[in-house]
Point group: C2
Chain length 301, copies 2
């Protein structure tokens, strides 16, 4: 086994993913920990890597995500777009935590298509990684999509993040599914269910989602749709509106690069396809790790 | 005191409002009870009016709202639009509950502007009442709005409900305010707060609400907006999108008739005014009562 050289950490609001890496960025071991929104990041990080410290000595760590926010360990100011990969690594906040050298990568901010400011933390590291895993994506213009609680749609030109747009897709779906009368006992989301396609199609309506959502209930109440199809229909409706809006905001001249879990990739891939948009898939965890390894090489070497 | 003749009940999902009326529809006493979504409507109604039964004998009752739904007392089929006031009263479900004659008014259904079915239960009774309170509204075409959990926008021509559209405005606002990271510690909604106007204005964007909602967080995170202004901004955003969508779906050739509480009327009135739409206010409880009294006269006389 090669020698452990550093620790990489993808530290989001709800979860910490840890990788023990050798100097070449190969993963020697994996670990997990609590999200960055719980107090005392310093103490919890120390506890999460204590076994590795004992076995390999205190190693430097590179971290990305909400750990750099006001609710995290140390606040790292957002970097403004357009942002080059080298600038992202260059804007890392470096500090000592006892014997350990820490670097936290910055998030990005931009003025969105709508005129409001937009922000991301963690997704910029996934893009860094995706560009390392697929160097062809560092040339020309590409749209990346990171589906999830807050879906990010990101335009990258010649490797630089130029602009992005956040949609509340994942969070809105979950809120409605868990707490609303709309989607009570509404079954599981199944992209093969015709109700998913009906939702995608109904989302083409010019009416805002606010005026389309009640159809989840009214179709069931009037007997047009089975209750157990409602979650699939709601999912189609939300994803369709997300995609329809993005298509109106951004030009799509190459396949959308989906950076996420295989399950989300299947769902978004099918939804994009219904809107005649091609997509390709990059594993989200792999992209995060590749981005952290790349940034580590830039910062610590 | 004149003689009690009947009981009128506005029985929604979360609340029962009761009125003891004389033959002319004057209110002699008021009462309250649990919503129609709790089991055993028959037993709970009997308990809620027991004192009146003792004092005045068992009186007939006219009810409207979710009490006529599948989760209520007895299901009353929806009446299809266009629906005349006389047809609404005529489609009441009449039955005996022990010694008491009961009539439950039907809800309405229509094919909405978006092509999906739409439904209401209770609001049709408020419209009946509004037309009795303001007979001038029974001539020509008028748009009524009942803001709330599920806001109803209703087109009425020569007294008949022709079409309506439901927006999830109230529910979506509450879900985001209570459960989302967007609006944590976000202050109280204040229509005088400039953030309310900023939200109304930002809602003019063509982008769907799904892509505008994250600005509640991003404006705070980037320091553009105080956290304590976020609820007012979110409210403006949701109301603005509701109104902008309705303006694209319906023609507005006279003031919108807001049927609701004074607080909601102030909020929607200001929002409509920002979109250059005039409005008038009809008290929601008064409209319900007037509708029930009118229907009682049609049914029982």
């Amino acid at each position: 086994m090669s020698k452990a050289a550093f620790i990489a950490g993808d530290w989001g609001t709800s979860r910490l993913r840890l990788y023990l890496c050798d100097a070449g960025g190969n993963v020697l071991a994996r670990g997990e920990g609590e999200g960055a929104s719980v107090p005392d990041c310093a103490g919890r990080f120390g506890a999460a890597v204590a076994a590795w410290d004992k076995a390999h000595g205190v190693l430097p760590a590179i971290l990305s995500g909400m750990v750099g926010s006001t609710i995290g360990w140390r606040e790292v100011p957002y970097l403004k777009c357009p942002a080059q990969p080298s600038a992202i690594a260059g804007a890392a906040l470096r500090f000592q935590a006892g014997e350990r050298g820490i670097a936290i990568l910055p998030g990005l901010t931009c003025r969105g298509k709508t005129g409001a400011p937009d922000v991301m933390r963690g997704e910029e590291t996934q893009i860094l990684g995706a560009l390392r895993l697929h160097p062809n994506l560092a040339k020309g213009r590409h749209i990346f999509c990171m589906p999830g609680t807050h879906a990010k749609w990101v335009a990258v030109t010649d490797g630089a993040v130029t602009q992005f747009q956040t949609a509340l897709s994942g969070e809105l779906f979950e809120l409605l599914r868990r707490h609303s009368v709309l989607a009570r006992d509404s079954g599981e989301v199944d992209s093969q269910n015709p109700a998913f396609m009906l939702g995608l199609d109904f989302a083409r309506q010019k009416a805002d989602l606010l005026h389309l959502l009640f159809s989840v209930r009214s179709r069931v109440v009037t007997g047009e749709m089975a209750k157990s199809d409602a979650a699939s229909y709601l999912s189609g409706l939300v994803l369709g509106k997300d995609i329809a809006t993005v298509l109106a905001l951004f030009a799509f001249d190459s396949p959308v690069q989906l950076i996420c879990t295989p399950a989300l990739a299947a769902l978004y891939g099918k939804a994009l396809s219904a809107y005649d948009v091609k997509s390709a898939v990059i594993d989200g965890d792999r992209a995060s790790l590749a981005g952290l390894v790349h940034a580590h090489a830039e910062i610590f070497s």
